[in-house]
Symmetry: C2
Subunit: 346 residues, 2 copies
């Protein structure tokens, strides 16, 4: 149900996240969340010839893990919603072609898993699909090649920079009633509302400070969700952004304060959680389409599934940055998508 003029959809029959997997590379495996991931690959090349192909392999492995967990084959997935950071989304195209199912390619920078989950939820909540697979990935080295300096330069990174996560998260979203395979709906987190975000451009031009670029978009989406659903920070166990990092977190909390909402006790950021700032040299935190996706699967959903948390607002954040637009002097607009996740049958 969506009220006229609202961005938020509140689902009358909330779809569930039936099975999911978060898989990562070696650095993420050594981080504070290491023990929670489904798979940790010691070889960042994943046995492939290029970093881009390694990223495709991450998506393939994540989807395969979800299918295994759900006791499903690819033919049980109605539609794939997938994306990554690379130009023309090649990690997704080459990662998913072998599953031979319809694919909707998405691009929303590091907020792409939000787009994928929202569209999967819309399709399954409305019975336009029975199952949809939301999957995104990122890879430190393919992202550096795409956006920044050749790694061989050994360029120094400013403290506001984030470290692109090598990882992927995949989620089988299913209509509440029948998910097929061995997916009993009663034990799975539910997507009860979604607030798709708009592009927010505050004119920030520092591609090495993406937290600052994205914080205004996160603020806009969170405020919109609160306003349209009549809720506030107290209604959630946590408000979880994607990859604002330490710099962006400070900005978000300040911006929300001005809007009259105190996020300080409730805010969590996937990019902050995934690395240990003091030992891993990742500066402001982790980032990338794979960051919030892998953390959602490994860390957030289990807390809902076990009832430790009742309700969270998951807000993946994206910096709409390209080397071309940036070199042509354009700013870095942000986007953030809001997804309200609730414990099973809560």
């Amino acid at each position: 149900m969506k009220k006229r003029g609202y961005a938020t959809i509140t689902f009358e029959r909330p779809p569930v996240i039936g099975a999911h997997a978060g898989i990562v590379g070696p650095k993420e495996g050594e981080g504070p969340l290491g023990k929670y991931f489904d798979q940790i690959y010691e070889d960042p090349m994943m046995g492939e010839k290029t970093w881009e192909q390694a990223e495709s392999a991450l998506q393939r492995k994540a989807v395969s893990a979800v299918l295994d967990k759900g006791g499903l084959c690819a033919g049980n997935v109605d539609y794939f919603f997938a994306g990554d950071l690379l130009g023309q989304s090649i990690a997704s195209s080459f990662g998913l072609e072998g599953f031979c199912r319809p694919v909707f390619g998405l691009y929303g920078a590091c907020a792409t898993i939000g787009e994928a989950l929202i569209l999967s939820a819309i399709c399954t909540a409305s019975d336009m699909a029975q199952t949809a697979m939301a999957v995104t990935s990122s890879h430190f080295a393919s992202a550096e090649r795409q956006f920044r300096f050749p790694l061989e330069y050994g360029s120094q990174r400013p403290l506001s920079a984030t470290w692109t996560v090598t990882g992927s998260g995949a989620f089988l979203v299913a209509s509440g009633k029948a998910a097929g395979g061995n997916l009993p709906a009663a034990s799975h987190a539910r997507i009860t509302a979604v607030t798709p975000g708009q592009i927010v451009d505050m004119g920030v031009r520092d591609s090495m400070n993406m937290g600052a670029c994205m914080a205004p978009a996160a603020c806009h989406t969170i405020e919109t969700h609160f306003r349209e659903t009549g809720t506030g920070p107290d209604d959630f166990d946590a408000i979880i952004t994607g990859d604002l990092g330490y710099v962006g977190q400070d900005i978000l909390i300040g911006l929300m304060q001005k809007k009259g909402f105190d996020l300080k006790q409730k805010h969590m950021d996937c990019g902050i959680e995934i690395f240990d700032r003091s030992t891993q040299d990742t500066h402001s935190g982790g980032s990338g389409c794979g960051c919030s996706a892998a953390v959602l699967s490994a860390f957030i959903l289990p807390k809902l599934e076990t009832g430790q948390w009742k309700r969270v607002l998951f807000v993946p954040t994206g910096a709409l940055l390209s080397p071309v637009s940036f070199n042509e002097g354009k700013g870095v607009p942000g986007i953030a998508h809001g997804i309200k996740l609730e414990a099973p049958g809560a």
Copy 2:
């Protein structure tokens, strides 16, 4: 309604395309469809400083034209579904940020308008949205910079190459009952079924022959649609692909023949229609996200709206090509999305 295991959704309450616009650059304006476009811009820079910003301006103009025609403001559009060919979809991000509405960024190469229309139709048919704007663009010069040689080289193009269309098409999709503004549902074409496509990789490695890369995907989607809906070429006034061009058309007709379907009398290709092969030096035809989108608005929908055609299968086609994957020796997979369009109230 979607049968289990099918790709195709048949809408019980088909959404309508309430208002639409196709706008192009000077070369497209001089082509055979010149008189049908809403706006033709003589300056391919659109008064902007870069080609990429010019492409953003095309999207902005197309959306504004649709809003004007529909007597709507941006606030009447629930969600935007948008994409383009450029890395990180910058033409869309910078083109749409000013409308301040939720945006789902899409990437499906030149088939992106198919993705956008399908998702707009799903959202409005299910009342998850009342209105959705599907918009895509391409620009000859921004695409050459993204994918091929610097224009200044004056490189020779093989005869199998296509010419990227400078243009944009935008479509306001609305639920059948109430579109708002001055949009009487009775005079608008309806989206009665959709068949999202899967990635088809036949190992074609020639980025200068995208027709050959995409034809197998078009064949797969058209055959799937026929099989799942129990229809064939005789049930349609035309089967219209996006930008296979002359080379891809021959391949598609041959492939479909082997599947038992004779497309020869019914096939049309937007890339073939938009340029005059003999005078415009465009070789195999036009291509780009803007090609099928602008032709759909200017040439196809009017034939349905006036009842000249009763029913068409619109199948935008995309080559999932990136300079990175291509230079790393990967092939060029194709994707095609099928949309069944019918005359008002037919």
